[in-house]
């Protein structure tokens, strides 16, 4: 599924990352001179207190935001200096996003939501539908394809969102507190699903979480505090 690459070469390599926000003349340094490697096919978690910069870091390695300083390399490609247009197309080909509040489009059915990323590709419409259905089968929602988000439970919505994240067959899945809005049982379902994607489909997964149970499933957990990674 993933391209073969030299053993030991990490999929994601962050070097000297500093991220600052400027608001009304004041500069807030959120990440400071931070290095991070994520191995290919790994399942890693980012933990840390609120405001420590977890989401910021995740956004940087997913190509949603650019660092103030430092380099972001994913699959051998520098993404920190890409133009907005290039980056958007890079994201659509390489990254699947899972959000805390699912972020499905309410006017689309489950299968249509999963199809959404494929609209950006040259895939024919019948093939789009087929791939979306396959992705929904992977997350175990074959019987809910025509349901609208409001007709689904939180856990089911998150499964649809995960199907949407994998429909383009990305290298990397990033999930910002994917179980934050779910009860224990649904959260465990989602975590098991992510584990399966990692183990069986070889997806590299990085999640941000406050949940120790979630972190336990990750192979590596990074602790972020005041803009730095703690060993």
């Amino acid at each position: 599924m993933n391209e073969v690459s030299p053993a030991g070469e990490p999929l994601i390599r962050l070097r000297g990352i500093t991220k600052e926000y400027t608001r009304g003349g004041e500069t807030l340094r959120v990440l400071e001179n931070l290095d991070l490697d994520v191995a290919r096919g790994s399942f890693e978690a980012l933990m840390g207190p609120s405001g420590s910069g977890k989401s910021t870091l995740l956004n940087l390695l997913a190509g949603l935001d650019a660092p103030t300083q430092g380099t972001v390399e994913v699959d051998g490609k520098r993404i920190d200096q890409m133009s907005e247009g290039k980056l958007a197309s890079w994201r659509s080909n390489h990254v699947g996003f899972v959000f805390q509040s699912y972020n499905l489009l309410p006017v689309l059915t489950a299968v249509e939501n999963v199809e959404l990323p494929l609209l950006l590709t040259p895939v024919a419409s019948s093939e789009r539908r087929k791939r979306a259905e396959t992705a929904l089968r992977v997350v175990g929602l074959t019987d809910r394809m025509g349901h609208y988000p409001r007709q689904l439970s939180g856990g089911q919505e998150q499964r649809v969102a995960i199907a949407r994240a994998i429909v383009n067959d990305p290298l990397l899945i990033v999930a910002d507190e994917p179980t934050g809005d779910l009860d224990r049982a649904s959260a465990d379902d989602i975590l098991r699903l992510l584990e399966t994607l990692n183990r069986d489909l070889g997806k590299t997964i990085v999640i941000v979480t406050h949940d120790p149970a979630a972190a336990e499933r990750a192979r590596i957990t990074h602790h972020l505090d005041k803009g730095k990674l703690r060993a």
Binding site: D65, A88, N103, P106, V107, E112, L116, S125
Partner: protein, 391 residues
Amino acid sequence: MTFLGLAAKNLGRNKVRTGLTVLGVAVAVLTFLLLRTVVSAWTAGADHAAKDRVVTRHKVTFVMTLPKRYADDVRKAPGVKLSSWANWFGGRDPAHEDEFFATFAVDGKTYFAVVPELVVGEAQMAAFLEDKSGCIVGDMLAKKLGYALGQKVTLESGIYPATETPWTFTVRGIYTATARNVDRVSLMFHWDYLNDALPEARRDEVGWIMSRVEDPTRTADIGAGIDQLFDERDIQTLSQDEHTFLKSFMAGFSAVLTAFDIISVVILAIMTLILGNTIAMGVRERTSEFATMRAIGFLPKHIAVFILSEAVTLGLLGGALGLVIAFPLVEGLLGRWLEENMGAIFPFFRLPLPVVGLAFALSVALGVLASLLPARTAARIKVTEALRRVA
């Protein structure tokens, strides 16, 4: 699912809001159409005026009359092919107090040659010329008031009050018209009949003289030539081509027409603002959805196209609905009523096609205009910040 399908689905999200917006656009388009139709109907007579016709009237005002002998002089003026004259009679049928229609005393032998857009059958024309008290009425007037051939019609006039005998005419002809914008609710009778019955002091006066010229490109010059004939006489004249004449007649209403023009534009401006506000509201509500789409890889231009296509659809639907209401309303109800009851002012009250096209094009164009700002805002959202706000 397709990209435009997604845009369409968003319109169905809040059906009440979409419905009200479409209705709002429709009402604005309808109002615009009505106002514009009034303006164009009002000026239609002037716009369709014969270009080869010169009207000569008293220099001071068309209310004042000219000596009858002027008509003979005009006929001999250089460039004039034919001429005739008429008086405004101001008649009213006491049996139909509320109906207003134009009544003219005309020179029966020449009038219909100078005004060929009024069509009278040969036999009827002969009967009219034969009968000094005969009259000819428009077919729409005949239909409305039930005038039939041979019927006697008695009229009252404030301008020419009847002395011993009332003004009684016999309907000898019913005219139709060659063009839709020609008034078909008028009544014409013999000027001689009027003149002979008047007291000595008011005899041999005509309201205006109408001439057809040989060369329509020289109408203005020929008119000036006519006026020159009377420069040294006790009463001077003003000769204008019919278009200018009608224009000067309507100049009195120009303030109203200008107001209509302005209001029609203001209404569209208000519509644009309301539409813009509705679209902006819809965009604000969907900030996190747009951010999600951007994260997935959609570009700012995709988002902008999205919002523009929604606005265009709203404009199209509203414009179409406005037209769908306007056609039966104007063509069926209002137009017919106005033509029948106020035919002298609105001989042809119909939706002019260019105005219809303009209204439709404007509703779409203004939809685009209204969505430009919201589309720009949505295209420029900072994805990471917009996503934070959801969580």
